[in-house]
């Protein structure tokens, strides 16, 4: 009753502000108005400034010839191609370092995280020192350090170190033999795919069989044997259809082979070992978060130690590990933009650096670069949220 009477009171200016519901509406209207005013202010300034400089807003420059070279390209590119293509090359380079970096960082991080929990005092301390050192030094310093070390301590091309045949280490890059696939290699690939398909079927069958009879097959060891063994047999049957193209010193540089540039090597290495330290801490806290009672209960049920790890500890620990792992992947991807400091041609260096300077289209270029990073971030977090939901604990 009180509420109705209250509502029938005349709407006064004072009441508009003291009633929670009206106040919420008014505040939001004010916020929107403020936002629009701010945006209008910024936009008019931008229009005026661009006019004063005689610049126009538009994305036509994307199709103009870029006119600069990129030293590492995953797709064919030369300086006569468009800015758009240069951007794509840069984006692929970002992707390359981000993906390889994430893989290496994850492997290293998991190993270090487990070793950090080892009862061995010595290894425990070593890993602790490693983690604290890498985590507390800016990643840019580490990138510059490794780049500086490669460029200033490795010898020049002519005196390149050659630890084994066909491998050359010089300050212009690491040269390794390039595998050349001859005809008949298809057979190996087919064997590999067949082995994987067979193992998927076999593991499903084994699971059903176990549920029905309780018998357990060593699926994992059989799987490893089949996936490695089958392609190997196919390789020999096909008559070893694989050759290596050796890098050779011709003139001032090496010809042939696969080259890993010092910029890529330094960036990849620094980003991975930096991120691995963070992942190691996530893994450690994840494993520690599984209550000790779980292990004790598993042992009490007579489950073997390595099965306890695989079936009881790891699945529970993963729930704690995965969310922060996502943000580490994101961080690595974002940190890969530091490539510009050492001249690795990623999206920021090609598009945000050279294209921006050449065309003077600051606004358009920055909008594109920011949108690309935002899209990558949102995609990674969307994927990880989906994964997270899949493995989340189903509660009542």
């Amino acid at each position: 009753m009180a509420a109705i009477e209250h509502d029938s009171e005349p709407l006064t200016l004072g009441r508009l502000w003291s009633d929670k519901r009206y106040r919420a509406v008014i505040t939001q209207i004010l916020v929107v108005a403020g936002m629009f005013m701010l945006l209008a202010f910024l936009a008019t300034n931008a229009v005026q400034n661009l006019e004063a400089l005689g610049k126009t807003f538009g994305f036509d420059f994307l199709w103009a010839p870029a006119g600069y070279d990129i030293n590492q390209t995953l797709i064919p590119y030369d300086s006569r191609e468009t800015h758009f293509r240069a951007g794509v090359v840069g984006l692929l380079n970002t992707g390359l370092v981000a993906i390889t970096g994430c893989i290496f960082a994850t492997i290293l991080g998991f190993i270090l995280g487990v070793l950090r929990l080892s009862s061995n005092w010595l290894i425990n301390r070593i890993v602790y020192c490693y983690i604290e050192f890498t985590r507390n030094v800016p990643v840019l310093v580490q990138i510059l350090l490794w780049h500086g070390v490669i460029v200033s301590t490795l010898p020049g091309v002519r005196q390149a170190l050659s630890p084994t045949e066909g491998v050359f280490l010089s300050n212009r890059g690491f040269y390794v033999p390039k595998p050349v696939f001859e005809d008949g290699f298809m057979l190996v690939i087919i064997a590999f795919l067949a082995a994987i398909a067979g193992m998927v079927v076999f593991s499903r069958w084994a699971k059903k069989h176990q549920e029905a009879t309780g018998q357990i097959y060593p699926v994992f060891s059989i799987g490893v044997a089949a996936i490695i063994g089958l392609p190997l047999i196919a390789f020999f049957v096909a008559g070893m259809p694989l050759a290596f193209e050796m890098p050779e010193l011709k003139g001032f540089n090496f010809q042939g082979g696969v080259v890993v540039r010092p910029e890529f090597a330094a960036l990849w290495f620094a980003l991975s070992i930096y991120t691995a330290a963070f992942i190691a801490e996530n893994v450690r806290s994840g494993i520690q978060s599984v209550s000790h009672g779980q292990t004790e209960a598993a042992f009490a049920l007579g489950i073997k130690p390595n099965w306890t790890m695989r079936l009881i500890i790891v699945p529970q620990a993963l729930r704690v590990i995965v969310p922060p792992l996502t943000s580490q992947y994101l961080n690595l991807t974002k940190n890969s933009s530091l490539a510009i400091a050492i001249g690795y041609m990623d999206i920021v260096a090609t598009f945000g650096g050279i294209t921006l300077n050449q065309t003077g289209k600051e606004m358009e270029v920055m909008i594109i670069v920011l949108t690309i990073y935002l899209t990558i971030s949102l995609l990674i977090s969307a994927f990880m949220n989906w994964y997270n939901r899949r493995i989340a604990l189903v509660e009542r």
Binding site: L115, I340, E362
Partner: protein, 371 residues
């Protein structure tokens, strides 16, 4: 079997052998280093790794190092180790940048006052805490005038502020300025007003989704476009604005974590007592939420402080800029190890002590729920 049936009169039983040692170096080694085959293997591997790296590193950094020389060539004549002479010759630049030499005392004074200003915030047993906190509140103004000049002090151009000082200035200003903004964003993200909430979420996710370096590029290349024609203001200020916006998004997420940890009953109780929204936030919720988010804020600060090195990419001469400049000096070329290891140690000392502090805080705040 005869032994077991033997009986003794009370007090006549012969002394039992002493129990196995539960302490002592040998037992410690056996328990911690050699308890199982895997363990032995790990010990061997780590001893080998230590043997591989530690003597070489120590020789390089300390025993064979050269502390006094005029150029790289001179260094190499004296010894094969690190050429720390470079860091020694340019130490002033590494710390102060191009700050005029006769005014460097002002930077030192600011640093001392800064320590006095943060002491009461970090340590709740500081003597005269209330008075000290008042000093903390006015410190930013004092620090500004000390560094930039004015009020009778000789003015110094902001471009002259450089070296490690610049990193500290950007880091501290960024975190101090972003704290209120971050708290507002966190409150906005938990607000019941859909438009306010959406705006806050969009801002936070946008900032967290892009790398800081692109935001710095925005600051250096296109921020001027959005200001009234004719306005120019210096790069450091633009960088400070961007860094503040950047860290406010991260602070907002930390504070949101703190807010979520406060039971709903607290807000309901505040409502029941007739407190308005801002009153209940200021008096009831935020004091509790901020207290538990301090470790997270310190961690954000560590991250931001490390990120201040990125300003070198847009052309400011921070400690890394000084380092790169000295590497391109013909006299000192090729000393990448020395320069970057020196800078790394500088950052390590600062960041490691801060992360230890945040661990100490976490331990202090989490009482009682441990086995």
């Amino acid at each position: 079997m005869a032994d077991t049936t033997q009986t003794y009169e009370p007090g006549t039983h012969p002394d039992l052998p002493p129990p196995m040692a539960t302490r002592g170096p040998i037992l410690w080694v056996r328990k911690n280093l050699l308890s199982s085959p895997t363990n032995i293997f790990l010990t061997v591997v780590s001893v080998y790794l230590l043997y591989l790296f530690v003597p070489g590193a120590l020789n390089w950094a300390l025993f064979d190092a050269v502390w006094d020389a005029g150029s790289r060539a001179e260094c190499r004549e004296i010894g094969q180790g690190a050429c720390w002479a470079l860091a020694e010759v340019r130490f002033g630049q590494f710390i102060y940048g191009f700050y005029p030499e006769h005014l460097r005392w002002r930077v030192d004074l600011t640093a001392v006052l800064f320590i006095l200003a943060i002491l009461p915030l970090l340590w709740d047993k500081t003597p005269f805490r209330t008075q000290m906190l008042m000093f903390s509140a006015v410190f930013p103004v004092i620090g500004y005038f000390l560094l930039v000049g004015g009020l009778g002090l000789e003015p110094v151009e902001t471009t002259k502020i450089g070296g490690f000082t610049l990193n500290v200035v950007i880091g501290v200003t960024g975190i101090v300025a972003s704290l209120p903004l971050g708290i507002l964003l966190a409150l906005g993200r938990r607000s019941h007003m859909p438009i306010v909430r959406t705006l806050c979420v969009m801002f936070i996710e946008f900032i967290r989704g892009v790398p800081l370096i692109t935001l710095l590029f925005v600051a250096s290349t296109m921020l001027n476009y959005f200001l009234p024609p004719g306005t120019t203001f210096d790069l450091i200020l633009r960088v400070l604005i961007m860094v503040t916006l950047f860290s406010s998004a991260y602070i907002a997420e930390v504070v949101r974590g703190g807010l979520q940890a406060i039971p709903k009953g607290q807000i309901e109780a505040a409502d029941a007592m007739g407190l308005r929204y801002w009153q209940s936030m200021r008096l009831v919720v935020l004091p509790q939420a901020l207290k538990i988010s301090i470790p997270g804020i310190v961690n954000t600060f560590v991250g931001l402080f490390k990120d201040t090195t990125l300003v070198v990419i847009i052309g400011l001469t921070d400690v890394l800029g000084v380092g790169r400049a000295s590497l391109s000096d013909a006299k000192w070329q090729g000393l990448a190890w020395e320069v970057y290891v020196f800078i790394a140690i500088l950052f390590f000392i600062c960041c490691f002590s801060m992360s230890r502090y945040s661990i100490y805080l976490e331990k202090k705040l989490h009482t009682g729920h441990k086995r």
